[in-house]
C-alpha cells in the first residue's frame, strides 16, 4: 500500500459565527490560498481536488460546481463528498485514496461551511423532515412532546440521551461534562483559528442554563463560518516537494451503524451511546497503522465532540482508556495540553463547528502538531509521534478514524 502524507494545512483567516465579507466560494478560496502559502505549492502542482460540505445548510446544491473555479480546480479531476458530520474526514479520506490508489500524487482537499447563510437547526431538522411529518400525521404531539414518539430539543435533545446513557454506564458525573467543556473552551482561547475563544472556568459553564438535562447551553457547539484546505501527497512527492516535515496518514477506518435517533419509521434498536461503529472504525484504522495498544501509543487525540460529553465518551470507545475511566483521567489532568494524552488541544468541534470542516480540522490539527507548525499557544509541549483523529455524524451513526504519524509505514 502506498504511503500518503499531509504536507500542509490552510485555514480561513478566522472561524467566526458570521462572515459577511465573503461568499461560500470566496471562503473556499481563502483556505486554498492559505494552504498554498503555507506549502509554497501552486495549483499547477495539484493533480486532483476533493471538496466537501453539507449543502442543505447553505441552500446551494452541488456547490463544487460554483466553488471549484475559486479554488483553481477548473480543468482538473474533482470529487465531492458529503456524509454529514464526518464530511471533513471522509473528504480527506477521499483525497487519501486518490493518492493511495497510485493514480494521483498530490491532491488538494477543501471543506467549508457557512452556517450564517442558512439556519443550522433547520438544516439539522432536515435530516428527518419526512419522518417527523409522517409521525405528526400519526398523532405525534410536536408541541408538548407528550406521549409516544416525542422527541426533544433538536440535536441537543437527542445528544442528551446519549450523554446520560454515557454518564450512567461510565460512572461519570454531569460535573465532568462541565469540566471537559471548560478545558476545551480554555484550549480554544489559545487557538487563533477557534471560534469561541474565551478562557472558561467550570463555574462559567455551570452558569449557563440547561437545555436538556444533563446538557447545558455551555455543553453545545456553536455554528461557525469557516473553511479548511489540506494537501496530501505520495511518498515520492513528499521527498520532492517538502523538507520531509510532514504528517503521515498511517491508518484510516470508517463505519456506519443505523440511525440511532429519530428513526421513527424503521424503529430504533441502538443506544446512541453504544457507538459500535466507532469501535469498528477504530479497529480497522489501528490494524492498518499497527497500533496494538491505543491507550499507550498515542501522544494526542482530536475527537469530534459536537457536545462536550462526547470527548470523554469517544476517548473510551476509541480505546484511549478503559470504559469508565475517561473522567478519572480528566480529573488527573491527563487530557490537558501539557498532560499525558492531550485531547482537543485545539478546543475541538465543541468550540468551532463549521460542520464541513469539523472532521477535517481534527486530522489537520494532528498534522500541524506533528509538524510543529501550530500557530498559537495550543502547541503541545512534547514531540508528537502518533496522533489520533476522529469524526462523527449522521443520525449518531457515522464514525471515521484516522491515525497520523511523524514517520511513514515501512513499505510491505
Amino acid at each position: 500500500m502506498r504511503n500518503v502524507a499531509i504536507i500542509g494545512v490552510g485555514y480561513t483567516p478566522v472561524f467566526v459565527s458570521k462572515r459577511i465579507d465573503v461568499s461560500i466560494a470566496e471562503m473556499a478560496n481563502e483556505a486554498a490560498n492559505a494552504v498554498f502559502r503555507n506549502t509554497g505549492l501552486t495549483i499547477d502542482q495539484i493533480d486532483a481536488v476533493v471538496q466537501g460540505n453539507m449543502q442543505p445548510f447553505e441552500c446551494v446544491n452541488l456547490p463544487y460546481l460554483w466553488a471549484s473555479e475559486h479554488i483553481g480546480a477548473v480543468g482538473k479531476p474533482v470529487m465531492r463528498i458529503a456524509t454529514g458530520g464526518t464530511t471533513g474526514m471522509t473528504t480527506l479520506m477521499c483525497a487519501y485514496y486518490h493518492v493511495a490508489s497510485g493514480l494521483y500524487d498530490v491532491v488538494l482537499a477543501v471543506t467549508w461551511e457557512k452556517h450564517s447563510d442558512g439556519d443550522a437547526q433547520v438544516g439539522l431538522a432536515g435530516i428527518v423532515t419526512p419522518e417527523i411529518f409522517t409521525m405528526v400525521m400519526h398523532g405525534l404531539d410536536l408541541i408538548t412532546g407528550r406521549g409516544m414518539g416525542g422527541t426533544s430539543g433538536g440535536s441537543t435533545g437527542a445528544a442528551a440521551y446519549q450523554a446520560l446513557s454515557y454518564l450512567h454506564h461510565s460512572g461519570a458525573d454531569p460535573e465532568h461534562i462541565d469540566k471537559m467543556a471548560a478545558l476545551e473552551r480554555s484550549n480554544a482561547a489559545l487557538n487563533p483559528y477557534a471560534h469561541l475563544r474565551k478562557k472558561t472556568t467550570v463555574e462559567d459553564i455551570q452558569a449557563t442554563p440547561f437545555i436538556s438535562w444533563p446538557l447545558r447551553y455551555g455543553h453545545t457547539c456553536p455554528t461557525t463560518d469557516g473553511a479548511t484546505a489540506c494537501i496530501v501527497a505520495s511518498e515520492e512527492k513528499v521527498k520532492e516537494l517538502t523538507d520531509g516535515n510532514v504528517a503521515w496518514i498511517i491508518g484510516v477506518g470508517s463505519c456506519t451503524s443505523d440511525p440511532c435517533t429519530a428513526n421513527f419509521i424503521e424503529g430504533q434498536i441502538t443506544d446512541p451511546a453504544e457507538q459500535e461503529s466507532c469501535r469498528i472504525a477504530a479497529k480497522k484504522a489501528y490494524e492498518m497503522a499497527g497500533i496494538e495498544d491505543p491507550s499507550k501509543e498515542f501522544d494526542m487525540a482530536e475527537l469530534y465532540d459536537g457536545f462536550a460529553h462526547q470527548s470523554l465518551m469517544y476517548a473510551e470507545k476509541l480505546g484511549l482508556c478503559k470504559e469508565g475511566e475517561a473522567h478519572k483521567l480528566l480529573d488527573k489532568g491527563a487530557f490537558n495540553i501539557d498532560g499525558e494524552l492531550p485531547i482537543n488541544a485545539s478546543g475541538g468541534v465543541f468550540s468551532t463547528n463549521a460542520i464541513g470542516t469539523s472532521a477535517m480540522n481534527r486530522p489537520c490539527e494532528c498534522a500541524l502538531q506533528i509538524m510543529g507548525k501550530i500557530e498559537g499557544e495550543h502547541k503541545i509541549p512534547k514531540k508528537i509521534k502518533k496522533a489520533l483523529a476522529h469524526g462523527w455524524g449522521g443520525l449518531f451513526q457515522y464514525n471515521s478514524v484516522m491515525v497520523l504519524s511523524d514517520t511513514p509505514k515501512k513499505s510491505s
Partner: protein, 385 residues
C-alpha cells in the same frame, strides 16, 4: 497500477416516472437482486459507496436511511454527491489502494415522483448572482447550448429530431427505459411541443425515478465471483467554469480533458475505431454530438452527417447510447452509473436486441451541472489485457 478492478455484476430498476415505493424499499429490493444474482450476502462486501443528492432527497444527509437497506449496517460506507459514475470512480480507487477487495456502488433518485430535477438544477446556480437574477433555468440554458452548436456549424433543428428519434427507438428495446417509441421518426419528434425553442419536449430528458447498483472487485476476487468480469481500464473527470457566458457551449473542453486521461490509462489512441460502443449522458438531444465530438468519436460539427448516415445506430459504425440514453431515462445522481451498467451488458453479450456485435471496449459517460459543466469518462473492456 498494480491491482486491477473489475465489475462483477450490476442491477438497475425498471425506471419510471413514479416507481411507486419508498426509496428504502427500492434500494433493498435492488441490492437483494444483486446479491441473489452473484450469490453473496451483505457480509461479502467490504466497502459501500453511495450516491444520492440531499436536495433531491429533501433530506440533509440523504444517506442516513439508505445505508441499512443496501446492507451497510456496521460496514465501511461513504457518499459521493455527484453523478453516480463518480461514485464508481471513487470505489475503484478504494480497491486500487489495496485496502478493500470488493465495493458496492449504489446510486438513486426519485427525480420523477418526489422532486423536480429542474428545481435541483436551480439550486445549483450561484446564489449571489444567477439565482438572484432569475434569468437562467436548465431548459433555457440547454436551448442556449443547442443554439450555439447550430450556429457554429450552420445546422437546422432536424439533427435534434433525428437524434431523439434514434434514442426513442433504442429505448423501445431497453426493458429498463422509461420513455420509448419503437417507430419514432424525426417527424414524430418534431411534432412534440417546444419548451424553449429550439428544444422540444422530446429533445429533453424525462423526470425519472430509479436506482442502479454495481459491484466492483479486485481482479482475483472478480474472477472468483463471476464468469465474465468487465474490466475498468481507465477513467477521469474534469470541470469547467459555472459562468455560462465564459464557455464555448458548442464544445466540451472538460469532456476532452477527461477523455484524454482516460484514453491514456486505457491505452486508447484512436477512440473512434477502438471503442465499440458508448453510453452518453445527454440530458438534451444536442448534448450527444457535443460530448461525442469532444470524446473524439465523431468529427466536430458532424451531427447531421452522423444522423443521415446512421453512424450512431446500434448497427452503425459508432453505436451511441443503445440504451436510449438521456432522452429515454435520466435518473439524476444515477445516470452515469446506469450508463456503466448498460456498457457492461454490451460487453458481456447480455444486451439482447440492443447488442452491438462483438463489443469489447465500451465508454460510459456522466455529467453534472448546467450545459454539462462537469464530465466523467470511464473506459470498460471485456478483456483483462
Amino acid at each position: 497500477m498494480e491491482r486491477k478492478v473489475a465489475i462483477v455484476s450490476h442491477v438497475q430498476t425498471k425506471h419510471s416516472s413514479d416507481i411507486g415505493m419508498p426509496r428504502e424499499r427500492m434500494l433493498f429490493n435492488l441490492v437483494k437482486e444483486l446479491h441473489n444474482k452473484v450469490g453473496i450476502t451483505r457480509h461479502d462486501v467490504d466497502s459501500y459507496v453511495l450516491c444520492s443528492n440531499d436536495f433531491e432527497a429533501g433530506r440533509t444527509i440523504s444517506t442516513v436511511f439508505e445505508d441499512t437497506p443496501v446492507g451497510a449496517y456496521m460496514k465501511d460506507e461513504t457518499k459521493v454527491e455527484m453523478d453516480g459514475i463518480m461514485a464508481l470512480i471513487y470505489a475503484t480507487m478504494r480497491i486500487l489502494s489495496g485496502q478493500f477487495d470488493t465495493a458496492l456502488v449504489v446510486a438513486n433518485s426519485l427525480g420523477g415522483s418526489q422532486f423536480r430535477p429542474f428545481l435541483i438544477m436551480e439550486y445549483q446556480l450561484d446564489p449571489t448572482f444567477d439565482r438572484q437574477v432569475g434569468l437562467i433555468n436548465e431548459l433555457n440554458a440547454g436551448a442556449f447550448q443547442a443554439r450555439s452548436y447550430m450556429d457554429k456549424y450552420g445546422l437546422d433543428e432536424w439533427f435534434l429530431d433525428a437524434i431523439s428519434a434514434r434514442l426513442l427507438r433504442n429505448g423501445a428495446i431497453n426493458p429498463y427505459a422509461l420513455r420509448s417509441k419503437d417507430d419514432a421518426t424525426p417527424e414524430y419528434v418534431a411534432s412534440s411541443e417546444y419548451y424553449y425553442e429550439p428544444l422540444r419536449k422530446l429533445h429533453c430528458y424525462p423526470f425519472s425515478d430509479g436506482a442502479c447498483a454495481v459491484l466492483l472487485a479486485c481482479g482475483e476476487k472478480a474472477k472468483e465471483l463471476c464468469e465474465k468480469p468487465v474490466w475498468i481500464k481507465g477513467f477521469s473527470n474534469s470541470l469547467e467554469t459555472c459562468r455560462l457566458g465564459e464557455r464555448e457551449l458548442y464544445t466540451s473542453p472538460s469532456t476532452k480533458q477527461a477523455a484524454e486521461k482516460a484514453y491514456k490509462a486505457a491505452g486508447i489512441s484512436d477512440p473512434a475505431n477502438e471503442i465499440d460502443v458508448a453510453e452518453i449522458s445527454a440530458k438534451f438531444a444536442h448534448q450527444e454530438p457535443i460530448i461525442c465530438e469532444s470524446l473524439g468519436l465523431f468529427p466536430e460539427g458532424s451531427a447531421e452527417d452522423v444522423a443521415k448516415n446512421d453512424l450512431a445506430e446500434i448497427t452503425g459504425k459508432m453505436p451511441i447510447s443503445p440504451s436510449g440514453g438521456g432522452i429515454c431515462t435520466y435518473v439524476f445522481s444515477a445516470a452515469g452509473l446506469i450508463n456503466v451498467a448498460q456498457c457492461c451488458q454490451q460487453l458481456t453479450g447480455e444486451a439482447g436486441d440492443a447488442q452491438v456485435p462483438n463489443a469489447k471496449i465500451a465508454l460510459a459517460h456522466g455529467q453534472d451541472g448546467f450545459c454539462a459543466q462537469h464530465n466523467s469518462v470511464v473506459i470498460l473492456s471485456s478483456e483483462e489485457g
